[in-house]
Symmetry: D2
Subunit: 205 residues, 4 copies
């Protein structure tokens, strides 16, 4: 395989990128100055060295001397340290932050497929249990919010987590909750699906 | 104006129809047998005679001898008669019915525009107050659910209704609630807007 | 069936209208004053009486005393009467007019499905042959342009018409042509399909 | 700026990529094994060394010992060497190849913006003139096809090229042509814009 095809194939694995756009990326790079390409290559190569996965929430962050393995949120003393929002992936954190949430996070690393027999192979279930136990031992934990998507796989994963965490919540005395369902901002009742309306009726207040 | 243009213009007022599709409608009718057109004309002309607006919820329904001015839902004895879901328009009722809701309805007849000074000109506010008072007098009313869209105008209308109905709810002892906000079924957390995430965190359970 | 359901079903037969929008049409009509509905019904009912199909090109037009069964274009003396553009349906004429075309038209009334055995059942093939013969007899005909869509059925219909009209064109000495294929205005080469590029290379000038 | 932000910014310059997707690319890379990232970095870094720009048509291609600076098409003896299709960019060649074209190419390297005063700064105008003269000198050149997009800038660029190449075409006796305009494959007459219909009428055959 020649380098152009190999690079095209690598780009095809990027999220949301098909063969045509992968080829356009390579064309784009071919027309850049060699220096630009070298910089990009360097940035990609150094990504591992300059970044780390948080020891507490498992998100990826840029290393700095002071944080000792913890990301900015986990290292912060001004966050509400008793609340953990469990999300599927790093990218979900951005939206939750913009919503004004001030607690901590835990990144599951994925969802559990419907037919999966060993959830631990897909998500950080053991690590989550460990985290809640550790936080509870420090008398810090008051609530774990399951911040999963309202999709079939998100629902399946939430059910698995609830099953696993409910006994822990009872024993360690923390609240276990899930994001509310209902009409999303900007949506019209006429075009909402029956399921969403049922949720909205259910969570009415 | 000739009949083709006049009919085209009439179709342009239909919801969601632009000039091009209005013209296609006329072309379509021109190619139908005269009998089909006559039937359609008859059906439209008789719409008023064969249908009526429910005296209780203001939705439109097909008249039958037995119901005496009430639609099927309002005339039914098997519905939960203590709950009223207030919706903007007739079409909203379909979705709420499909969600499994078993209470009654009240059709506002629209939303109140943001700059409107007299809400009564846009929605059936007086009729809603009258309905709640009448139902409460019959000892039937336990809850009024504001089933408005999660849009700016829907929010504005809900705020107006709450202002108006809150004293009544206190005096007549019924609950006043609104549809819950949050992630709608099928939506991914990553693509939810901050407002929706804030609502979902707020209505977590 | 009640009148609301019957009218809903009638609207579902309108081009491009599904069950949901058909229901919205009925809701819309229910909320109009009875006078508006009566006017609409009248306009639909009178459509047949006030309009006619052109004896020459078969398009539908609004009758006026003077034209004696011919539409405005066919009755006009300022059009190029030697050119006939054959189109599938009335609505196609609008676009061709806006392109600056100054000749006459013939409306086929449809396309011929791929598997059809008797094209005459689907399009006005006999009428088209008759029209070309009549125009040629008046020494008026110089060109017949097949103005069909660039779709599979359009291509199939064009092939059938060519087969039928080619001997006539030779005998009556008129030109038989088809609309050019190629890049449509505004389209980028990169996103054009191979077929369109092949046509564009073929019709290069 | 930290490495994650720097890499995000680099991806934002990729064609068709916005800030959100750029961030997803970085997240994706962070979760890959270090070896995968190293390979990608290597492939990007080596892109320059392993590829070259064709001396004749200016497209980018993977270097091999035998071709001596010419791409596969330009080096081939089985192509129709008398025809040059002038395209805007490398990616346009794919589509033209799939259309069955068997001649040679010339990559302009862009289009000329409407307000541009010096076209040479935007496209390889001098190189194109040189190429036609060289091919003509070898008695090889019979036609130059301007294979530009049917966009405003494509039209502007074509007009500039025609002005420049017309005297050359007359002097060196080659044909100068442009891609045909008209209905693109699959398009319906009813939805074609007037400009496209005018072109289709113009290029009728």
């Amino acid at each position: 395989v020649n380098p152009i095809d190999r690079l095209t194939e690598a780009f095809e694995h990027f999220p949301g990128i098909g063969p045509r756009q992968a080829r356009r990326f390579v064309q784009y790079l071919l027309t850049r100055p060699a220096g630009t390409r070298a910089e990009l290559a360097k940035a990609i190569g150094e990504l591992g060295a300059s970044s780390a996965q948080c020891k507490s929430c498992y998100r990826w962050f840029v290393k700095t001397a002071s944080q000792k393995g913890f990301c900015g949120v986990c290292a912060s003393t001004s966050r509400e340290r008793g609340t953990i929002c469990v999300v599927e992936k790093d990218a979900d954190i951005d939206g939750v932050e913009r919503s004004g949430y001030r607690g901590l996070y835990f990144v599951l690393g994925g969802v559990v497929p419907l037919a999966a027999e060993e959830p631990e192979k897909y998500v950080r279930l053991r690590e989550l249990v460990h985290r809640t136990e550790a936080d509870a031992a420090k008398k810090e934990l008051s609530e774990v919010i399951l911040g999963l998507s309202a999709t079939t796989e998100g629902d399946h994963t939430r059910a698995l987590l609830q099953e696993k965490l409910a006994p822990l919540a009872a024993a360690l005395k923390f609240k276990l909750s899930s994001l509310g369902r209902g009409l999303s901002t900007g949506s019209e009742l006429e075009y909402a699906d029956p399921d969403t309306i049922a949720s909205a009726l259910n969570s009415r207040a």
